[in-house]
Amino acid sequence: MSDFLVELGKNPRARSFVQSLGLPIPLPQALRRDRGPWRERPLADTRVAVGAVDGAELATALAECLAASGANPYLALPASLAAAFKGPGETFGRPARPLEALAEKERADALVFDATGIKDIAGLRALYEFFQPLVSRLGRSGRAVVLTRTSDGKTPETAAAQAALEGFVRSLAKEIGRLGATANLVVVAKGAEARLAPVLRFVLSARSAFVSGQPITVNTRARAIHEPPMVRAFEKKIALVTGAARGIGEATARALAQEGAHVVCLDRPADDGPTSQLARSIDGTALGADMGDDDAPTRIADALRSLGGVDVVVHNAGITRDKTLARMKPEVWDQVLTINLAAVIRTTAALEPVLRDNGRIVCLSSIAGIAGNMGQTNYAASKAGIVGFVRTRAEELADRGITVNAVAPGFIETRMTAAIPVAIREVARRLSALGQGGQPEDVAQAIVFLASPGAHGITGRTLRVCGGAFVGA
């Protein structure tokens, strides 16, 4: 589905004309995306400004990640921290330069601030001092990332200072969204430094095009994977995607297959045509099952057992049956709760014996579930239920190295949203920092990231892919 304003905005003349009229018409920036396979150096030749204050703890991890990803770092750091960039610079031919070396007319592709050294409210001033002059130099589809620690075992003032970062990031996201740029907070638990790099590669790259204003927590809860692969990360892996016939499910199946996975594409028998076509085009397997059927979980488990097990499960199948509560019939309530929530829980249980160690489960939640939506009490209940499900299931499976997460899409251009009346759709699209709807591929990228071996630091979480939606906490 094309977005007229995004298309219009791509034409520089039209863009300057509309802007010169001074009309209150938003012209969202077309987002930079990366639809190709994952790359060894996803940040090749990008300019990344790096800031931190004394006592920052992630400089080494950051230095290694940036150089290995191909980024050119420009430092605004105390000398003691800058030293960490020397070795990686030599190794990958990415020597760190002082921030002043960034020429006047050059834009920064990303701004990264390691805030782990901030201990009190006065320390937050460093955050202001780093971002304030640089925010106007951030390029289109740029990235702002703040790194912090989890708040356990801190003084109240330190905890306040760290918590303040979240408000800062969410607001920054809204300010830079018109550039197509995003801002996110990465919260790194003690001991999880080695698991930071894959997360940064995702957040700093074009793959996180529609993820903005989000806190992402990286911890050591799930068993670690030694040196997770950064490219072709799904070779020899089997992935199940439910609701694969179209939209987000189809995009996810394609993206997983592109990284080397054998994808079992599941959808209702009525959608056998598109499901089989998809499975053929990505060399996967088609599987027909209605998630509402009682025997669906065991049938799916049997099918996967015959393939030798499963590594990645994406619970994408879902339905909407919108009605205000007063007019909602009981069967409509049941239908939505059964397919969107009960089936996910039952299928996960049935798949547990065939799910391999270090496996990944990704469920689809929704902004509606987080923020609530008119006429969607049933749908929102089911999608909020997912948030609780992944939190608890993650704990149970962590020792086997299996992570369980959810993604919560905001307004995504799919068949489901195309059915919304035009006036409401137009408003819904603009109600986010990026001022536009996301593409199914944007959600697929987030799912593939959470399903990758490198995401071993993230479990029990719900990642919003909403372009910094104005609704929801």
Binding site: E40, K86, G87, P88, E90, T91, G93, R94
Partner: protein, 431 residues
């Protein structure tokens, strides 16, 4: 290094033609003719009978499209025994070394005893091909019986004219579209190699090559070649004894406006050939040939062309050392192909970095610094030129002779190549 079956291939001799600038004295000699000149010189120098040569392995980069197996053509033109089979190998600028390592492997496996290996290239004779669009459009006229309508159809396809003109051949990476100099330019920036350092390195290469020529050191390696015009060429054409850092500093950047690479610190397009005679150790004794050196190990690697195209030797050389069970400090000589001064200096920096060793080679200590007194003792491609396929064979020849003359023990070779390839090899003197 001895093979499991106890066989060892030894280098008993090597020669090369003079290396001259493309489109100069050798313009009318194609790569086959240059190869013939080198191999004829090798046979004369070693006193080997034609019928003793069992096989020929030849390296080349710009191969004639209709007779790409130039090894066989050289053998036939030289009237070697018809039984002397031939194969041509291509691995960009490492093709000459590739030919030699293929020959060594064949000998050590026990398949053959006497192989001529080497390589040649004639940039002057690069074929300028018609764009595929023209070839496809003209096909109906060449095949079958064309009608008038076919002729009209072809005409209508041959527009616009800009799409059907033959293009100047250029050495650009197929995947990145980057000309090699542009990649080297980026390496210079990323590894912080200054213009001054590059120019100094280039001057040293010229001065050392000039000294080798003046002292007669190259006389035993070079065979004079007569061009079809009747002119005899005795010496390398690109070496400038009188160059200096001041002179090179005046040259303008060649690949980027604010760049540091110039014609002076980059290797030139060159015509030439080099050939090496490899023989099994027993056969060498039987034939009364004096072994000079043996290839203890070799290694070929690949890196992402979009990253640092010419860093391959920084990975391949340590790997070759490991395979030979030796360390850089054990090396009496190091000979690196000088595609660009910036590329050699970048690789030297990587070899000297402990951080690089940890992350890229999985070892705690840096591979090591290379003493300039041991590096490219008689100059390199910057001064001598770089006929792509011949360079590896030139390096093996010069180093084998150097080991034999000096009585020293070991030499390490390193070559970078298009496509993100790198090669390394260890030569050891044979007593």
């Amino acid at each position: 290094m001895q093979n499991k079956n106890g066989r060892r291939a030894v280098v008993v001799g090597g020669v090369r033609t003079p290396f001259v600038k493309a489109f100069s004295d050798f313009t009318k000699l194609d790569t086959i003719a240059l190869g013939v000149a080198a191999v004829a010189g090798l046979l004369k120098k070693t006193g080997l009978r034609h019928r003793d040569v069992e096989a020929m392995v030849w390296g080349g980069v710009i191969l004639p499209p209709t007779q790409p197996n130039i090894a066989r053509e050289i053998a036939l033109d030289l009237r070697l025994d018809p039984g002397c089979e031939g194969m041509t190998v291509t691995r960009a600028c490492a093709s000459g070394l590739q030919a030699i390592t293929v020959a060594a492997a064949e000998i050590e496996r026990g398949n053959v005893d006497v192989v001529v290996a080497g390589g040649s290239d004639s940039t002057s004779n690069a074929t300028i091909a018609l764009p595929p669009k023209v070839v496809h459009a003209l096909a109906p006229l060449a095949l079958g019986k064309p009608t008038a309508a076919d002729y009209l159809g072809v005409l209508s396809q041959l527009t616009p004219i800009s799409e059907i003109l033959p293009r100047q051949p250029k050495i650009a990476e197929r995947t990145t579209g980057e000309v090699m100099g542009e990649s080297a330019e980026r390496m210079a920036k990323r590894n912080e190699i200054s213009r001054e350092a590059q120019d100094e390195f280039a001057v040293r290469s010229h001065h050392r090559a000039a000294a080798a020529i003046a002292s007669g050191r190259f006389d035993e390696e070079i065979v004079p070649v007569q061009s079809p015009d009747g002119k005899w060429v005795h010496a390398d054409g690109l070496v400038r004894a009188d160059t200096s850092v001041e002179k090179l500093a005046k040259l303008r950047p060649a690949f980027a406006k604010d760049g540091t690479l110039t014609a002076g610190n980059s290797s030139a397009l060159t015509d030439g050939a080099a050939a090496v005679l490899l023989v099994s150790e027993e056969k060498a004794r039987a034939l009364g040939l004096k072994p000079l050196a043996t290839l203890s190990s070799w290694s070929y690697v690949g890196v992402d062309p979009a990253d640092q195209l010419l860093m391959g030797p920084a990975l391949a050389m340590p790997k070759a050392l490991d395979r030979a069970g030796l360390r850089l400090a054990d090396m009496d000589f190091v000979d690196m192909h000088e595609a660009f001064a910036a590329q050699v200096l970048s690789v030297l920096k990587m070899l000297g970095s402990a951080a690089f060793a940890r992350a890229r080679l999985g070892r705690e200590e840096a591979v090591g610094e290379i003493d300039p007194a041991r590096l490219n003792v008689h100059g390199g491609s910057l001064a001598l030129g770089h006929p792509f396929g011949a360079t590896g064979a030139r390096m093996v020849t010069t180093m084998a002779n150097e080991l034999s003359r000096s009585g020293k023990r070991t030499a390490l070779l390193g070559i970078c190549a298009a496509g993100g390839l790198g090669a390394g090899a260890v030569l050891e003197r044979v007593e």
